[in-house]
């Protein structure tokens, strides 16, 4: 892993009450651990940079897990590493506990990567994963769909284009979040509907579920069918507030 920032880590518990999400959790909350931003699986660089900017702006310490541990991609270009061979799971294993994993607009088409993610969650990490379905080829999407079903028990529907060119204007298709705090955030042109047993709905778009939260082992998976990262990059206040609130919940668990 390559540490791209060494800001102060705002992950101390400080005696705060345990968030409601994890009330049923048996294990003691862990105050230390690394925060990992998954670069290697990112299919839309804007989302990655959005989270990166939000973390840096808030002075959070995080590690950016790159595909080949190389320097930064140039801004706003699709991640060139998306279709390259992923790193070996052994290389991804770290000795330190991972407390938060953010996978912006993730391709998640490689079994080893997905298994690595699952293991980290089961060990107690919280993972925020954005679907990259809208940026995959149909074949890649089928692989993602299958892996999300087999590894996480999540059904991922085909991405739907939210803006129609014909017909009357029927409003901005905002995404309404209910967790960890209420927020209304702009769409990003496409959305993916989701379904899973034992999952809590945390975001909807025109009544369709596009965000869920699911416990896995000692950790939790938050899966979004509409990305927040690009809106963090543009400075959308609702998106920033939502992410701040998410950070507080996730890192304190």
């Amino acid at each position: 892993m390559t540490c791209v920032s060494a800001g102060s880590c705002a992950c101390g518990l400080g005696g705060a009450a345990r968030p409601a999400l994890f009330e049923h959790r048996e294990v003691a909350p862990r105050a230390t651990g690394t925060v990992v931003l998954l670069r290697y699986s990112c299919a839309l660089a804007e989302s990655l940079y959005g989270y990166q900017m939000a973390l840096l702006a808030a002075g959070k310490r995080f590690d950016a897990l790159t595909h080949d541990f190389s320097a930064e991609d140039s801004a706003f270009t699709p991640s060139p590493g998306r279709l390259r061979r992923p790193p070996s799971p052994r290389r991804l294993r770290t000795s330190t506990f991972t407390s938060l994993i953010i996978a912006p607009v993730a391709s998640l088409t490689d079994f080893d990567q997905v298994r690595w993610l699952r293991e980290r969650i089961e060990q107690g990490a919280t993972a925020l994963v954005e679907s990259g379905a809208a940026y995959l080829t149909p074949a890649e999407f089928q692989v993602q769909k299958s892996l999300m079903g087999s590894e996480f028990g999540i059904t991922v529907m085909n991405p739907v284009k939210l803006w129609k060119r014909d017909g009357p204007f029927d409003g901005v298709p905002y995404v309404d979040f209910t967790w960890p705090s209420p927020a209304r955030i702009r769409d990003f042109s496409h959305a993916v509907s989701l379904a899973a047993d034992d999952a809590e709905t945390i975001a909807t778009q025109r009544g369709k579920v596009v965000g869920i939260k699911r416990r896995l082992g000692n950790g939790a998976l938050i899966f979004l069918g509409s990305p927040v990262g690009p809106h963090l990059l543009t400075g959308d206040p609702e998106a920033r507030r939502w992410f701040e609130s998410f950070w507080e919940r996730a890192i304190r668990s």
Partner: protein, 278 residues
């Protein structure tokens, strides 16, 4: 100042050579070539073919004033889809390459489109990033990228101060403003754009606009002196900032017959602007 007109104004069905002959005869000094808008200059036109276009222009006694394109309306640099955005970048790169071959030092780019779907903040960021990516390429080719003010159509960079801030954020000397004095409509005054952005102006499109039209079905655009632009004020502002470059005619084809007459009338009107007899 020198006069130019777009090759996309050449009447349909005419050849490039015939159009150049008309442009010369009407008194223009140069021609603006529109990548993708005319059959003779497309994205797949080879370097050799572009060189041939230059020879034809020079044989007609003209020069190429600048390279423009309307392709960014379909392939915006501000698109959410990275693939579409990359196509937009490739179009600008081809304009830069072509401008070098054609012996001119300016291109026109419609930098971004704000839509209901793609909001302003996204468009702004992507356009700044795209310009910063393209600027070194333009500089190497000895070309300046002129981002056009398409105020009403783009819904982007609507005031001269906003445009100035955009150029400051891009912070590249090879990126400037391709000012269209007819595009400002009722969002401001062309002469104030000239005053505020004078040194950053790469080229100027000239046409007139009618402030009381354009909100329904009628086009807002019209020929020089038929609309609401304050031409004496624009001319004074050009003198004030020392602009001595190209005035490029860009009108809608308004003449229902004798389409060549629009070339002559426009050339005469531009002459009046240049001479200040307004």
């Amino acid at each position: 100042m020198k006069k130019s007109i777009g090759d996309n104004e050449i009447p349909q069905g005419w050849t490039f050579e015939r159009g150049l002959e008309l442009i010369k005869k009407a008194g223009y000094d140069g021609v603006e070539l529109w990548l993708g808008d005319v059959p003779w200059f497309q994205m797949d036109t080879t370097d050799a073919q572009v060189s041939a276009l230059r020879r034809k222009v020079e044989n007609a006694g003209l020069v190429v004033s600048n390279v423009s394109t309307g392709l960014h309306w379909r392939h915006p640099l501000s698109a959410r889809d990275p693939k579409l955005r990359q196509e937009g970048i490739r179009i600008v790169e081809r304009q830069i390459e072509a401008s070098h071959i054609l012996g001119t030092d300016a291109i026109l780019v419609v930098a971004g489109l704000v839509t209901e779907e793609v909001p302003y903040n996204e468009v702004y960021r992507r356009c700044v990033a795209a310009m910063q990516e393209l600027a070194p390429k333009a500089e190497r080719a000895g070309t300046r990228i002129g981002c056009e003010n398409c105020n009403s159509e783009q819904k982007f960079l609507l005031s001269p101060r906003e445009f100035l801030q955009f150029l400051k954020d891009v912070n590249e000397p090879s990126v400037g403003l391709h000012l269209d004095v007819g595009n400002i409509h009722d969002t401001g005054f062309a002469e104030q754009w000239v005053e505020i952005l004078g040194p950053q102006i790469t080229r100027i499109h000239v046409k007139d606009s009618m402030k009381k039209r354009g909100h329904c079905c009628d086009s807002v655009y019209t020929n020089l002196f038929l609309g609401d632009n304050n031409w004496p004020a624009i001319r004074a502002a050009l003198t004030k900032v020392g602009y001595d470059g190209w005035l490029v005619a860009e009108m809608e084809r308004r003449y229902s017959c004798a389409p060549d007459q629009q070339f002559y009338d426009t050339a005469a009107a531009i002459d009046r602007v240049i001479s200040g007899r307004l």
